[in-house]
Subunit: 275 residues, 2 copies
Amino acid sequence: MLECLVEGEISDRILAADRGLQYGDGLFETMAILHGQPRFWQAHMDRLAAGCERLGLPVTPQAILFREVQTVSAGQQNCVVKIIITRGTSGRGYAPGFPVNTNRIVCSYAWPVDPGNLVETGIRTRICTLRLGLQPALAGLKHLNRLEQVLARAEWNDKAIHEGILLDPEDHVISAISSNIFLVSGDSLLTPRMDRCGVRGVMRAQILKAFKSRCQQRRITLDMLPEADEVFVCNAVRGIFPVTRIDHWEYSIGPVTREVQKWLRDRVSPPVGSN
Amino acid sequence: MLECLVEGEISDRILAADRGLQYGDGLFETMAILHGQPRFWQAHMDRLAAGCERLGLPVTPQAILFREVQTVSAGQQNCVVKIIITRGTSGRGYAPGFPVNTNRIVCSYAWPVDPGNLVETGIRTRICTLRLGLQPALAGLKHLNRLEQVLARAEWNDKAIHEGILLDPEDHVISAISSNIFLVSGDSLLTPRMDRCGVRGVMRAQILKAFKSRCQQRRITLDMLPEADEVFVCNAVRGIFPVTRIDHWEYSIGPVTREVQKWLRDRVSPPVGSN
């Protein structure tokens, strides 16, 4: 962690009574800061506001968050900023106090290095044993209840495997552990619906918008994976990674993945190296 | 909160980087301290150890926890102590660092008052709209991912309703929001299985042990609720409450509920008032 603000004050600590710790009662956003500016800022803010509405949390004014993101990323050309909004503190028990006073934590992290140049060469993945539970009330949200992802990521240690693919209990493909997934079929882009589980990623939403006429959100069954011409995963911070392997299925890196990567590169200039 | 120890030191704060906040990556226990002694201590420790094993967390030595529970409850005749064990801090990302250094938080709270004498007069409940998602990998555990309970508890404001009943997506009865549930049929006690969702409560386990020959863990369907002779809910801290109402279904407080309450009363003397 580089810098951290808790409720606007420099601090790396929160109250133990915070409902973010007690219940995971809150949301987060993780964004790329490139050339000193947050990428997809408005998309992150829109998702956060939508999440707050669904969880019944008051929305923190964007101007406050923007200022604090600037503060924690000051002096960094490229870095990562994570915003956490919790329902604040309350007594014991699930019922929140009224009025709700949210707590906000804004922290910066070093830009992640990609020593293997995986954006170019692609990543290897595996299908996780853990199945995501179906929970429409929380589906799509980037909330703080992430034990499923923790358990899924703990399934392997092999450093040659870069990501895990998550299925639901009915063997629908949902996402990777910290990224969304797209399948390419001919000229079309398919990505799973996020109405029963999974996170509606900001990069996913940007791709859906940019390639609208060629994109479909649908249920994707496991047997569609080996049939796909190309597969890629995406993440608001790390971008778009071609998938070259899912367990024993192999994929070549195709023109559509390269096209989407080019769209992202042209849209915002790439980071000019870690600092 | 009365007193709080973080890693054995007096503090009401934890690091913002703690995975308990970042992902809800941890477990908790909430126990009654009666006459200065933790009730069902070994049962809480056994459940915590089982949870740690399932989440891949090293087990904190009981002697350390016992000493810290005594410290935070010192001078209190009756109070509540909550222990939280998290996977500690790590960098960004779901993969934990190795070795895992857990973080422990031990806090005491005032003994909850029961001004309505609800243990005697019974509680009114409602069936929640939110359905618990099925997740066998986390079922039974008292983990820190509790957004489902928060959302369910936010469904009503009516102070005359004391608890919410939670169903799974297939309309099986699972539990109340912060307690387990038993149905009485004749002389028999029925309680839902906790293999697909829900929390294996410590009081539930004690009742299952004490009334072993008359207890059944089974799937309980919604239509069994109006057929039940008696219904009660139980919780390690607050004890056993007769249920007099679930939405429009009414129940009288019957002999089996009173028998189980008497068992608990005889087993450990009741608190002699809040302090």
